[in-house]
Amino acid sequence: MNREKKKLSLRFWVQAAVIGGVYAALTMALAPISYGPIQVRVSEALTILPYFTPAAIPGLFVGCFVANTISFYGVPDMVFGSLATLAGAFLSYRLRARPWLVPLPPIVVNGAVIGAMLYFVYGVPPSLPIDMAWVALGECLSCCALGYPLLKYLKRHEGIFRL
């Protein structure tokens, strides 16, 4: 019985790790638009994954962190960006009863956290609200325009996410 439980746990973490790998790989593969002020990361579309599996919560966190160690945004992005992704993923998971809500938390959380980071840490003018809005806009493009259609599509293949 105990071993059954452990088995589930290991599969959970490994699946999470692989989701992280996919996120990082996609960020790198589509690099030109992934890094930059507008941050239209195609991999941000993956933030809808918590809808399918809770393993996506730590998975996206790790993926974001690893992708950032490769980026040149520096340590602050590694820390705040990943934490923002974690929080967003967790909230998305909680909202999964209503699919249309799922893409929203990443937009809000990333907008707030990364916007603040850009303003305070990187000194990007002109003001806090505008920085936040700017990031939120980029997130919106990825999460809604790419993420939501992806969600609808993957729903038909839900089986692949079974642990």
Binding site: R156, H157, G159, I160
Partner: protein
């Protein structure tokens, strides 16, 4: 339609410390309806080479002609090329993604902008060609099928584009003997029906010997030799030196030859070998008296 390659060179990681010439000044012509086998050990450049033939990769230098079109020239539409040259990658079943077999096969034709009726027709046709019964499989999810069946669906997906030339990269990799045989028979029947060019990349010398009109030997990015299977497989030592082998039947015949029982021509298939063993002139028969 023929395919001509002139002085094709492809360099990976150009300018970096670990730059490599994956394809080094390769030239050849494949005539209309020819069945070409390409052999070479891993890393010899065969996969890189074939990816140029349908425009997936662009060469560093050199030209490629598909029919009358120079596909390496500027302004050539990729979809035009892909309509004419179909490429089936290794382990093609890993590219399946649709909910049903029929939808997945329809992906290619749909990308070509064909009408729904035309697409439907092609799906049915290609399923027939790969030996999958339409009624049974059309509505099933490709993920529920066996490995061999999945592979057929993937191949059908490419055939549905009705290419004038079909390139297959190790289509029998990872299959059990029966599925292996089935796929090969399928390739042969497709070729017989369409009369189109088929290029088969394989590690299996026996398959190549059986099916190919000509064999290309690649090593280190270079096209070292080209000729009929009988010519190429006659030189076992050379092939061994570059890390390749010969068909099993040929190997056996060579062993017999060393023992003093040489056949008068290169043996390529088991049938030929059996024929040789059974013939009175081999000296191997022991007639019952």
């Amino acid at each position: 339609m023929s395919i001509t390659v002139e002085h094709l060179t492809h360099i990976y990681n150009k300018g970096l410390a670990y730059e490599t010439k994956a394809v080094d000044d390769v030239s050849f012509t494949v005539g209309d309806g020819e069945f070409i086998g390409i052999v070479g050990h891993t890393g010899s450049g065969k996969s890189t080479l074939i990816q140029h033939l349908n425009g997936i990769l662009k060469p560093e230098s050199g030209r490629i002609f598909v029919g009358d079109t120079e596909i390496t020239a500027k302004g050539v539409k990729m979809n035009e090329i892909r309509k004419r040259v179909g490429l089936v990658f290794q382990y093609p079943e890993y590219q399946l993604f649709e909910e049903t077999v029929r939808k997945d096969i329809a992906f290619g034709p749909r990308n070509l902008g064909l009408s729904e009726r035309e697409i439907e027709e092609r799906v049915e046709e290609s399923m027939r060609l790969v030996g999958l019964d339409f009624m049974t499989y059309a509505e099933r999810s490709p993920f529920d099928l066996s490995g061999g069946q999945k592979r057929r669906v993937a191949i059908a997906g490419v055939i549905a584009m009705r290419p004038e030339a079909l390139i297959l990269d190790e289509p029998t990799a990872g299959l059990d003997p029966k599925a292996h045989r089935d796929i090969l028979d399928m390739v042969l029947s497709i070729r017989d029906r369409s009369g189109n060019i088929v290029i088969l990349v394989s590690h299996n010398m026996g398959d190549i010997a059986e099916m190919a009109d000509r064999v290309f030997v690649m090593d280190g990015g270079k096209l070292l030799r080209a000729g009929s299977p009988a010519d190429i497989f006659a030189d076992e030592d050379y092939l061994k030196r570059i890390g390749l082998g010969v068909p099993p039947a040929t190997r056996m015949a060579n062993v017999l030859a060393k023992g003093g029982f040489a056949p008068d021509r290169t043996i390529l298939t088991l049938d030929e070998l059996a024929g040789f063993l059974a013939s009175p002139s081999s000296g191997l028969r022991r007639d019952a008296t």
